[in-house]
Amino acid sequence: MNRENAIAILLLTILVFLFPQLTTDNYILTVGIFIGINSIVAIGLTILMGYAGQISLGQAGFYGIGAYVSAILSLSYGLPVMLSIITAIAVASIAATLLAIPSLRLKGHYLAVATLGFGEIIHIIINEWGPGGPSGFGDIPHFSIFGYTLQSTVEYFYLIWICIILIMIFSLNLLNSMTGKALRAIHDSEIATLTLGINITFLKIKVFVLSAVYASLAGALYAHYVTFLSPSGFSLFYSVLVLMMVVIGGISNIWGGIAGAIIITILPEVLRGFKEFDILMYGLILTLSLLFMRKGIVPMVIDVFRNKFLIKIRKNDA
């Protein structure tokens, strides 16, 4: 991890621990939790799109697998929550691998539609076979670890955001490593990367699986926090929402995933009372940001900051 990112992680950590001290408003903390859950999914997709150059419209599928498998295992089979979360992630990883092996041979459009198809199939399965069918089911056990069960909103806020800090550390390390450099190399020349002995397909599969691991973890955390699941939250629209977070936040920087998650999660809260507007707003924001803000917020802010900073240094030199 480079210095800027280490500092950013430190700042994030401080912020996470200060936030619940600053507000005890449960509503704000709850929104914070949902931002966190969406961030985890968005970080995974950012890595997949920004670094592996692949698009997925099926993140809702992995998110759904994570939520449903973990919920069912802990509720109906009495598995400890930690174990059911791990199992759910394993199931999602296997599904991702099986999907990735044939998909990644395909050209971009096909992968987009193949993942979309996968996501919708998962949606149909949980709709038809999931407990409670379309109306869903409740009484999912709360998250517990070492015999301690998390109850309050503050506890969940910490849980989710500590997960994000760990995920960010892992991701930033990965992208700063040889593997991350190889991923960037693929962007510039796929042929050269191959002739240097790098198995591109294998690397892309791993990134795809990583994005599925993040999404399924987020799904499982969601299930044990909300303790109620219904299929409606796992449709194609959720995949598109995550895509929006990534695009708005900026695909070239994984902090963009968090920034995008903040905006897209808060938006419907701001628009409350204008329910009929929200899809229109989503569409407008996505279209406009693709047309006029293609880099996304985080890379843009960094550019502005760097330019100002550099100009200052130059002035000082002169």
């Binding site: 050209k107 459009h109 539609v113 009929e276 899809i279 569409g283 293609r294």
Partner: protein
């Protein structure tokens, strides 16, 4: 037997719409090599705008019909000029996919804002008793839907083979660089392909709404199934898309009828995944054509 016939006809009806959406995919794909994931939204535009002119404004049928197609054409035109044209030259595939998704959400958002979440319908094109065909009941509107699809295919065939503009568009689909060198205005071809595909989608919407109702959020599924129809027939080939559309429609009707209606939508998706993984060039398509494509 009667039941089977009944399913077959209902399959052909929905299959017609998938075929039309698939053809829309093909036309845009041929001129730009991109998949317009907003394709299905134009079916919804067709159904809802037709309702708006016919029931809302109380216009006569022919006026409503023309105005609806005109609306779809204009939306297709705006979409192409404002978003596709400025971004296409960047040659960024990821970006193009996302733009068409963005537009589809935008259209859906506008439709929901205007029409709300309720399903809409209007009377069939012609009044009259359903036809009894070996015990299966076939409404007149079913015949309209299938008839319009067939007519569309014939007209498109004539357009692409007999007219100068159509030939120019075909030339672009075969080799865009050569076409440009021959003096074909590629930008116009792209624009035209978006207009035509929008109109075709809207036609499907106008025809199917009296049978299956129309609501603002039907577009996404229609896009997926239309795409499935298109790749089943080998992307870019219109007759393939028709065969694909009909097959999916019939399989769906049979699944809904004999297995479980909840799995109806899964059928098209499973077929799609199967084709993508096993034979991406489509069941009727040729692999060599795929290699020439930029994306």
């Amino acid at each position: 037997m009667t039941l089977l016939l009944q399913f077959l006809f209902s399959g052909l009806t929905t299959g017609s719409v998938y075929a039309l959406v698939g053809i829309g995919f093909n036309i845009v794909y041929n001129s730009t090599s991109i998949i317009n994931l907003a394709q299905g939204e134009f079916v919804v535009i067709g159904g809802l705008m037709m309702w708006f002119f016919l029931e809302g404004m109380q216009f006569p049928f022919s006026v409503s019909f023309s105005l609806t197609l005109l609306t779809a054409a204009v939306i297709g035109l705006i979409m192409e000029r404002l978003t596709i044209k400025p971004l296409l030259k960047k040659g960024d595939l990821l970006l193009m996919i996302m733009v068409t998704i963005a537009i589809s959400i935008l259209i859906r958002g506008i439709l929901m804002f205007k029409f709300g979440k309720d399903p809409y319908t209007y009377p069939a094109f012609t009044e009259g008793e359903p036809i009894n065909f070996y015990g299966a009941v076939i409404t007149q509107q079913t015949l309209w839907v299938i008839g319009i699809t067939v007519l569309c295919i014939i007209l498109l065939y004539l357009f692409f083979n007999k007219t100068m503009t159509g030939r120019a568009m075909r030339a672009c689909s075969i080799n865009i660089r050569a076409a440009r060198l021959m003096g074909i205005n590629v930008s116009k071809v792209v624009m035209l392909s978006f207009i035509i595909s929008s109109v075709i989608g809207a036609l499907g919407g106008i025809a199917i709404t009296p049978i299956s109702l129309m609501e603002y959020d039907k577009g996404a599924m229609l896009s997926v199934k239309g795409f499935c129809a298109a790749i089943m027939g080998g992307l870019g080939r219109n007759r393939g898309a028709v065969a694909g559309g009909f097959s999916i429609g019939i399989l769906e009707a049979l699944t809904a009828g004999y297995i479980h209606s909840g799995f109806k939508d899964a059928i098209a998706l499973l077929i799609m995944l199967f084709i993508l993984f096993v034979k991406p060039a489509g069941i009727f398509g040729k692999a060599e054509i795929m290699k020439l494509r930029k994306f």
